[in-house]
């Protein structure tokens, strides 16, 4: 393999600054929305006492899960020793940090008291999965930052494998923690299952890989650097395997619930008569986020088209957001069953399907998180050497035939 040269993005064209400005605008809109929500209270959002987590959480959890998955390329290079992936590793690390930062920003700014961030970091209830996550997020930033250091500083090269292994183990623990935020909720039928932890891990593989591919293609196409088909074919096929695995986990999750009589009501709600949630599930999560990309990604001819590959990645991302919407909001829309066997009603909406209509500010806050992540990447690749000058097939792996 030819030696790979990494270099900063020297692009100072108006197109770069326009893109950076556009992303910056969304980031600013997100921050402005957070200020508006903080000032007026959550009354200006669609969230309420029944749907307590809404659109910001859909974006935040998606970004945090995708952050773990964005590290795929780096993990495959360092942990599984696939040399072809080595040039892809630094961007993988940068994207992982950026997505986590974006997700956490949204999560933090949606708090009822965002001004108490210091309290969240200094008062830790060690039995809380949320508190574990505070440690997991901090650890993830640290491990990936050290990993990047070992990759980008030649004198530290000897430690890359060890740092890569640590980051790999940590990302699995991190996503286990994210899945367990829901998995440990004993009171709610759609959530209380340990299956959510591994399911979130496999979802992270898919969402993170899709975002990675999109960012990689955007940067290389935009900057005019060579990007070979072989590497895209590999990553695309791998994404297909991940998407198939996600569908398998979703199938097992619902099959188990359908077997348990006590879960029939919630399953009927999500799969059959839940309105927007049923549509989001079948059309968004399963068809757009699963079946369609699978058809493209597992077919070598279709996958060879960059347009179709981009479309598949975009569909995986859209399906991922739909999945989060169904899981987080659909799961809360179905009422708690405090009195099994009794029809329930009250002024507090017991027994009723809960209503949620996302407002503009909370949606902008969620999008702002994505924008912050992209802004970090846009800035990062410009100032540091994250990107190989060429990812042409011959430069990456002369033996590979696309």
């Amino acid at each position: 393999m030819a030696s790979i040269t990494f270099s900063e993005l020297k692009d100072t064209s108006s197109r770069y600054w326009f893109l950076a400005g556009l992303i910056g605008l969304f980031a600013a809109l997100g921050l402005g929305s957070a200020y508006y929500m903080e000032h007026h209270g959550h009354i200006v959002t669609g969230m309420n006492n029944s749907i307590v987590w809404g659109m910001p959480h859909v974006f935040a959890v998606f970004l945090i899960v995708a952050a773990s998955g964005a590290l795929n390329a780096a993990s495959i290079a360092s942990v599984f020793g696939k040399m072809v992936y080595k040039p892809l590793a630094p961007l993988s690390g940068l994207l992982a940090i950026a997505l986590l930062a974006g997700g956490l920003t949204v999560l933090m700014l949606d708090l009822g008291r965002p001004d108490r961030l210091i309290v969240a970091m200094t008062y830790l209830n060690l039995k809380s999965v949320f508190a574990w996550n505070v440690v997991l997020y901090t650890g993830f930033f640290t491990f990936v930052a050290v990993y990047l250091w070992t990759m980008m500083d030649k004198t530290m090269g000897a430690y890359t494998k060890a740092a890569g292994m640590a980051a790999f183990i940590w990302r699995l623990v991190l996503t286990t923690g994210t899945g367990s935020i829901f998995g440990f909720l004993v009171a709610r039928d759609p959530y209380s299952t340990s299956l959510l932890a591994p399911m979130f891990i496999i979802m992270s593989f898919a969402y993170g890989m899709a975002l990675y591919l999109l960012v990689l293609m955007a940067i290389y196409t935009g900057s005019g650097r060579p990007l070979g088909d072989a590497i895209l074919q590999r990553l695309g096929r791998l994404l297909g395997v991940f998407v198939a695995a996600v569908l398998y986990f979703v199938f097992v999750y619902h099959l188990t619930n359908l077997y348990f009589t006590k879960q029939h009501a919630i399953e009927k709600f999500i799969l059959m008569d839940g309105g927007i949630y049923t549509t989001m599930f079948w059309v968004g999560q399963i068809f757009i986020g699963g079946v369609l990309p699978l058809v493209i990604l597992l077919n070598a001819k279709l996958r060879a088209s960059r347009t179709l590959l981009v479309a598949a990645c975009l569909m995986v991302v859209a399906g991922g957001l739909a999945q989060m919407y169904v899981t987080i909001i659909g799961g809360q829309a179905f009422p708690l069953n405090i009195f099994p066997g009794w029809q329930q009603s009250s002024s507090f909406f017991d027994g009723a399907i809960h209503h949620y209509a996302p407002s503009l500010p909370e949606t902008l806050l969620g999008l702002g998180g994505l924008a912050i992540a992209l802004l970090i990447v846009t800035f990062g690749v410009k100032v540091l050497r994250f990107l190989p000058a060429s990812l042409a097939d011959a430069d990456v792996d002369p033996h590979t035939k696309a």
């Binding site: 903080e38 007026h40 209270g41 959550h42 009354i43 309420n48 006492n49 029944s50 749907i51 307590v52 987590w53 708090l111 009822g112 008291r113 108490r116 961030l117 309290v119 969240a120 008062y123 830790l124 209830n125 039995k127 809380s128 999965v129 949320f130 508190a131 505070v134 935020i181 440990f184 909720l185 004993v186 009171a187 709610r188 809360q332 708690l336 405090i338 009195f339 066997g341 009794w342 029809q343 329930q344 009603s345 009250s346 002024s347 507090f348 909406f349 017991d350 809960h354 209503h355």
Partner: protein, 257 residues
């Protein structure tokens, strides 16, 4: 003969008046003497401010749904007035804080109807306390589950975890708060079992209101004291814990449904 008899009668009447006045004054004096004592007795049996609560007592409630009158919401009104919570809007909004609500129940098989109040169940193993990242949700030694408004960050994880939908999030700025009950925008809140009253040796507002309305459907007391009425009732009658399958051992029990 008649004249001496009249004189005797007059003398007897005067003596009676003196006796009556004496007894009256004594009674008044006795009252004045005992009254502070009774007050001191009351204070002595409430918890002094500086004294920490202990797990010797576990405060609880027993709600008899057969005595809970259909359509009566006195417990709800009393709670909201006591704690400075605005009554739910008409029609109710899902952003309204509700510390206690009347739930109407209809048996899906028989059609039998019931009505009962639901509030924080003050679990022995509260899921809200488990999940709270900062420890703002906490359980006092005497079993009362509370939110520390100083360290609640408003993440709402406790609301996701509570099986009873007992908690509310303050969605907007508040005015006219009760000095006894701190509340605030961006924090989570729920029934405190009127902890400020309990610490003064009084009963929670909902209990008092229900008694005042003549229903006596809510019994308040120390579950740990075998001689308390609530402990005796629970020991002798079939009572129900909501979502008993979760093994949270709530401090609020129900009977009659």
């Amino acid at each position: 003969m008649n004249q001496p008899q009249n004189t005797e009668n007059q003398a007897a009447q005067t003596v009676d008046e003196h006796r009556r006045n004496f007894i009256g004054t004594s009674a008044a004096l006795a009252g004045l003497t005992i009254a502070p004592g009774v007050m001191v007795y009351g204070i002595a049996h409430s918890k002094p401010e500086q004294e920490a609560v202990t797990n010797k007592v576990r405060w609880g409630m027993l709600i008899d749904s057969s005595k809970c009158a259909d359509g009566c919401t006195d417990c709800v009104s009393a709670c909201f007035t006591e704690n400075g919570v605005s009554l739910p809007s008409t029609p109710p909004k899902e952003t309204d804080s509700q510390w206690i609500r009347k739930v109407e129940l209809k048996d899906m098989r028989t059609g039998r109807e019931q009505s009962l109040p639901v509030m924080c169940q003050h679990c022995e193993e509260p899921p809200c306390v488990d999940v709270c990242p900062t420890g703002a949700s906490f359980k006092r030694a005497d079993g009362i589950v509370l939110v520390d408004r100083h360290i609640c960050i408003g993440c709402r994880y406790c609301m996701m975890a509570c099986p009873y939908k007992a908690r509310s999030f303050v969605h907007e700025e508040l005015t006219d708060q009760s000095p006894d009950v701190p509340r605030g925008k961006g924090c989570v809140e729920s029934c405190t079992m009127c902890v400020h009253r309990v610490d003064r040796g009084e009963k929670p507002a909902c209990v008092e209101a229900c008694t005042k309305a003549g229903h006596e459907a809510i019994l308040f007391g120390d579950l740990n004291d075998p001689n308390s009425e609530i402990a005796k009732r629970i020991a002798s009658k079939a009572t129900v814990q909501l979502r008993a399958d979760l093994a949270l051992n709530p401090g609020v029990r129900y009977e009659g449904f």
